[in-house]
Structure formats: structure tokens, C-alpha cells
Amino acid sequence: MILPWLILIPFIGGLLCWLVERFDQTLPRWIALFTMTLLFGLGLWLWSNGDYSLAPTPEAGSTWALEFKHVWIERFGINLHLALDGLSLLMVLLTGLLGVLSVLCSWKEIQRHVGFFHLNLMWILGGVVGVFLSLDLFLFFFFWEMMLVPMYFLIALWGHSSEGKRSRINAATKFFIYTQASGLIMLVAILGLVLVNYHNTGVLTFDYALLLNAELDPKIEFLLMLGFFIAFAVKFPIVPLHAWLPAAHAQAPTAGSVDLAGILLKTAAYGMIRFALPLFPEASADFAPIAMTLGLIGIFYGALLSFGQTDIKRLVAYSSISHMGFVLIGIYSGSELALQGAVVLMIAHGLSAAALFILCGQLYERLHTRDMREMGGLWSRLPWLPALSLFFAAASLGLPGTGNFVGEFVVLFGAFGQWPWIVVIATFGLVLSSVYSLAMIHRAHFGPVKTEGSLRGLDAREVGMILLLAALLVLLGVYPQPVFDTSLATMSGVQQWFSTAFSQLASVR
């Protein structure tokens, strides 16, 4: 019974935040903080108690550490089917942690309509947890689309409008239309899969475990896989479909950026690992070279554009595209090691991108600009912040000792066996990532001082958030074994599906 509560807690907490707004302006923040801490605490408790060697595999079928099932819409065989395995648990933990941080980082930033803001924030996180837990394709789609609405409000109402009056609304609308339209393509693919299965077996169901065994014609399988892939590609984001990301990041409030980069992008990677690969292994194996090439393009395109930005938040946003390119390569390489590396990289990128966006937010609160041409010389004017920025920039370029290094290294190492050329090319992307990371630090924090006047130092809350993230990132870099252990079972299951498909593909050729 704990699984539905993981989803309900943020929803209820959000409603409470809205209701108490009229009595007190600070109370919603405390409620939101408590809600997220509770979610994170529950996640940790589950981690310490669960048996995460259980995960779906081709032989054992669908086994889970925890499962919850209840009939929802009988007409279509739709169930409220939630389940937890190592991968979902890690993602829920990340959601809880970044949820706490996004409440904390908007403590001072958001002053208008506090209750409604936290309602939206909590509902996004509730929807994300729903995506990570749901095993019914209808339910998955339900949460996938549902979380867009509060995110839209977050960007449209509390965002920054730097380039003209309506730019935040335009950014929010762009985000919504991109993800919703691609979501509908996924819905068509889901319905196609369900109806093909119905045609073959006579059972109308949206259940993951049953659909895993659906027998598909190769051509149809490829088309359906493409439908899923497009929806995930938009959120990932993979390069031709990325146009919403920089705008949404640049205009979103800090908490919105943290959630977008830290969690929402991960829902796409999660969706690929959980749904696209196991449901359509043959088509995915067929598609893998294209997907990895797209990943390569993303790495270089993201890095180059990142280098060219003057807006510090856009810079970090483009760097996300570059980092997610590595995740994509890891997912489609078909090696267990690379898949595990992708998970570590997802977590590490979640932490480091969140930290960088929080730092950008803190800079903005002090300078009221995100334009790096107007910064400069901050190293001497601000304690803590430049040094911490340097640390996270270094983490982002993959410095050994941080989680990002472990993730990228394991992805490249795992993929090398089968795809040497892609790995060789991708490695050069690491060089570019050091270029833009260091350029960011150089432009913002070194050089001549541009503006006069003293700047407020960081208070305990601000330093605490960043130090916590730094500590976790180092911990992940030095001792990533717990994460590897937790995700092992899931990843080896996915890898088995995938490698069978690969060997079949090889025998055909």
C-alpha cells in the first residue's frame, strides 16, 4: 500500500499548501518542505528494506520488489498498477531530494502567490513519481501528460521575461505543445500495441507484463517503437526535437529549472529503459545505431551551442543536451555496464545540473541579470559562490572523483566493446564539455569587475543546499557501488532482452 502513497503525498501536500495560503505566507513553504522530506524519507526507508534483486527479466517475467494493483477502468482492462524495482527507486529518491531542494531554493525567490506556486511544484513531483512507478501503459501516459500542466503554470506565471514581455508565456507554451503533441504520438503507439495484442490474444489490456509477450510483426514493431521513441526524444531532448528546452530553462524560475533538468529529462530516459527497449527489443536493436548517432550529434551540438551562449542559464541548459547524449549512447549500447553507467550519469547529472541552476538562481537574485557579459570579477566580490560554481563546473566536465566521471567513464567503457567508433568520437565530446564549463566560470567569475557595489553573501540555507549536493556528488564519485547494486537487476533484465535481439539481428545479417 505504500506505493500509492508515494504518489498521493505530493498531491495532498500541494492542495494543503494552496488551502493554507490565505492564513499565512510562510506556512505553504513549510508544508511543501515537510511533504518532500517525507517522500524522500519514505524512499530511503524503502531502499533500506526492499530486496532490489527482483526486477523484470525475460525468463522470470515481471517480478518486482513491491507491487500494487487495483482495477481502474474495466472496459479497457486498465489497472492502477504500480510497481517498484531498483531503477524506479533510484529515480524516486532523486525526485524526493530535488523536490526538497526546489522548495528550499524558492524560499526567497518566490514571493507572489506562494501557495499556488507550491501546489504546482508538488503536483509536478507527484506526476513524476507516478511516471516512475506506473506499469500500466495508460496510467503511465496519464501521469506523463498530467505533469505538463503544473509545469506550464510554473514557467508561465513565475518565470522571468528577459526578452520581452511575453517570452515566458511563449516558452511555456512551446514546452507544452512539444511534449503534448509528441505524447499523442506515443498514445497512438500505445493503442496500436494494445490493439495488436488484442487482435492476437483476445485480451484487451494495457498491462506492461502482458504486453511484454505481445507478438509483433517486425514492421509494426518498428513503427510502434518509433512512436515511443519520438515522445521520449522530445523530453530527452534529442537534437532535432530539442528547441523547447533552452527557452523553457531560461525563462523558468529556479525551482522549475531544477525540476526540468534534474527530473523531467530523466523521465524520458526512464521511459526508454523501462518501456521502449523491453517492449520492442528487436526494433530497438535495429534502431540502436541511429539512436546512438543522434546521441553523438546531441553531445557535440549541445556542447558547441553551450559555448556560444551569453545567458548563463541557457548555457547550462544546452550542456544538459550534451550530457543526455551520453545517457542515450549508454541506453542503446546494449551492454549491461553501459546501462548501469547511464543510470549513474542520470543521477549525477540530476545533482550537478540542479546545483548549477540553483547557483544561477542565486546569482540572479544578487545581480538581476543572467547575462554573462555583465558579470565578471565575481570571484573577489562574493564568497563561496564562485568556488562552488567551479566545483560543479568541474563535475560537469567529468572530473574524476565526481559522479559524472563515474557515469561517463562506465558508459564509454561499457559501450566500447561493441561500438568502438562511436565511443571514440563521443570521447572528444568530453573535451568540448571542459571548454564550455571553464568558459562559463571564466566569463562569470574572473576578469575585470563590471559593476560596483557590494553583493550580499550566501546565507546558511543557500550554502547548505549547494554543499549537500556537492557532498552527494563526491560520494557518488568515490563510492558508487550502492547505486550499481540497486540498479543491477533491472539493467541486466533490460540487457538480456536487448542482447537476444542483437544476436538475432546478427544472425539475420
Binding site: 477502468i73 472496459r75 498530467m146 506550464y152 507554451t173 505543445i177 496500436g192
Partner: protein
Amino acid sequence: MEFTQQHFIALLPLLIVSATAVVVMLAIAWRRNHGLTYMLTAAGLVLALLSIAPALQVAPLEVTQLLQLDRFAYFHMALLLLATLACVTLAHAYLGEKPGGQGFPGNREELYLLMVLSALGGQVLVSSQHLAGLFIGLELLSVPVYGLVAYAFFNKRSLEAGIKYMVLSAAGSAFLLFGMALLYAESGSLSFAGIGASLAAQQSTVLVQAGIGMMLVGLGFKLSLVPFHLWTPDVYEGAPAPVSAFLATASKLAVFAVLLRLYQLSPATSGGWLNDGLTLIAIASILIGNLLALNQSNLKRLLGYSSIAHFGYLLVALIASEGLAVEAVGVYLATYVLTSLGAFGVITLMSSPFQGRDADALYEYRGLFWRRPYLTAVLTVMMLSLAGIPMTAGFIGKFYVIAAGVQSQQWWLLGSLIIGSAIGLYYYLRVMVTLYLVEPGIRRHDAPLNWGQQAGGIMLLAVAALAFLLGVYPQPLLELAQHAIFATL
């Protein structure tokens, strides 16, 4: 044929609505009283709604050659009566006297009479299985609407809309009638099934094709499908808000139901050209409806264009025509009616008490959330539902239509549906975000303070709650729609 008690039970919903019309008319003649007239109308509609339960016991039953009272007819009849009830309630809020306004200046009571008559026409329409029944029902549905649209005749726009609607609707009816005549000339039968059977037996001739085409033109006018949509935005804008609501829900619902029955019972699709034509109309309706709505700054016009697009989506299910299609149409119509009622309801409450022009300009809604949170919540749910976002009823409808489309592999239609939805999102979101924006110096336009206590306000909250509940737990609606099937012949 001989009428038995069973026939009367089956006809009970129609009889009660007819009686209501007579009673309301006599009551107006006896004494003009706004409240009393409303109560009589509402009571009659509720009674008719309740009488569907005993009528279902004897269904399906053929009453004369004209009417086939099956579960399909009763499902749509119930929807129609609910929609009419809601429109009547909104009209009561719209016309009535409020503190701070003297209410509607003209005669108020006749509006209810016209609405009841029109609803009766709709009831005939959804149960007709014969071209004569179709025509009678359609005219009974449309003619009172001319009066309704021009009801605020001292307002230039309303009068203009009324005349425009009358001329175009009459032209549409003429097309329909001519088409029927051609079909009759060729097949020698007026019943849907008879036409289907005789046309299936012989080669389709030019006359048949022209006849079907002309009937399609006539029905397309009523449903405002592209390219017969030109009247829609003007009429929606000019008509008083509750009448726009009636036009968008009850009237279109009934016409679509009869179109579905016609299409299912007499599949005159030999050669497939009808399917191709309908596909083109559907794609055009979806794309053009959504594109034209993009830059509207008038909420009623925007909803008018959006209704064009929504009936395009419905055509997807109609063309699919097998498997889930009938069920999908039922669910989609139910969710669309619910959503439109909510959206027009908010406009009505914002506009009342009657002040000459309705509050339909988008700027009048700016920042509404910070003044009227509940009213805004209702409109937000409706916009999300029209856009088809999960947790609202609209999503279930869209899900059904897509399922029907996938099942019959209509990829072109599905593609345009996805593109149309993406375009549609832009303007639904624009309306939605306007509600939450706060800028200094905006004109404050408020609904009367006690709106929540009025019947209209309560009904609106119920509609919003229902839209949310059906989005989260649609099973009851799906079961109803699943059983709303045609009587087997």
C-alpha cells in the same frame, strides 16, 4: 399500426417534453412570471429525464416507421435533456434580476418555450430511422433556434446572427431535402435501412451520389463542418451566451447522433467516395477550425472555431465506423457537451446581469483567478478538457476517438488529429494563462458577488466536478456508452 401501452411508455420522454411545452405556453399566457416559467420548464425536463428509466425497460421498440427507440436513442436523449436543462438554468441566471442590474429588458419567458420545443426536435432526431423523421426533427430543432439566436433583438449583433443563421440554415435544409428526394427517386424508400438495402443491391448512380452529397452538405451546415462553417463564429458571438451554449451542445449533439445512425444503417459507401469525402471534410475541419481559432480575442468566437475542430475529431470516429466507433462517439459527445456547457456557463455568469453585450472579450478575463478563484477553476478545467489533457473528461473522449482511429487504421486522420491538437493547445493555453495574469490598470469585470449561490453557479461547479471525476474515473460513463447500441434489425 396499433398503439399499446408499451409504445406510450417508450414515447414517454417525448410526450413529457411536448406536454411541458404546452404547459409553459399556457402558463405564460396566464401570467408572466420568470421564476415560475423556469421552474415549470426545469421540472418538465427532469421528469422527462426520469421517464427514460421506465422507457428503457421496453426498449428497443419501433414506434411507427419513423422512430426507433433503442438504447442509442435514449443515451443521446438523456444527454440532450441534460444539456437543455443546463442551458435553461444558465438562461435563468442570464436573464434574471440581480442586485446591481435590472436584468433582461425584453420578455424573458418565451426563451424557455423555444428551448423546450427545440429539445423536442432533438429528441425526435436522435430516435428517427426514417428520412421524414429526420427532416421533421431537424426543422423542429432548428426553427426555434432562429428565434433563440435573435432573442436579444434590440442588440444589433444578436439580430444579425439570427438572420444569418436563419438564411444559412434554411439553405442547408433545402439541400438536405433535395438530397432526400434524389435518394428516394433512386431507391424508392425513405427508411435508413431500406435505402441501405436497395442501394447495396444496385450500382450507385450519379443521382445517388448527388443525393448523398447534398444530404451531407445539409447536415454539414448544421454541424458547421468545413467548408460549411462560415456562420459559426458570427452566430456564436451574436447569440446570447446560454443560446450559444445550446447551439454548441444540444443542437449539434442531436444532428451528429442522427448522422451516425444514417451512416451505420445505410452504408451507401459503394466506391468509397463518400468515405474519402468525409475524410477530407474531417481533416479540413480539424485543421481549419484550429487554425482560425488561433488569433481570436473573443472567447465565444474562439469556442465556435474550437467546436468546428471538435466535430472534426468526432468525424474520425464516424469514419472508423466499426468496433469502438459508436461507443467512441457517445463518450466523446458526452465529454464535449459537458465541457462546452462549462465554458459557455462561465461566460454566461460573467455576462449576467444582462448588460447589452456579453463579457466575451478575452481581456475581460485577465487575472480573473485572483478575484474569482472558483469560477476560474471551472474555466481552467474546461479549457484543459477541451485540449484533452489527462484528469479531465476531454482526455477520455480523445482517448476513445484515437482508439477508434487506430483500430480502423485511419492514419491520415490520426495525423491531422495530432497536429490539430497541437495547434489547439496554443489557444486553449492562451485563454488559460490569461486567467492567471495580473497586470496593473486592467478593467475589473466581475460576476455578481453571490454567483455561487445561484442555481447557475451551483450547476457550473457540478459540471466542473463531473468533468474532473469522469477524467479520473470514467468507468460509469463508459458502461453507459457501451450499452448505447443500435437495435439490431
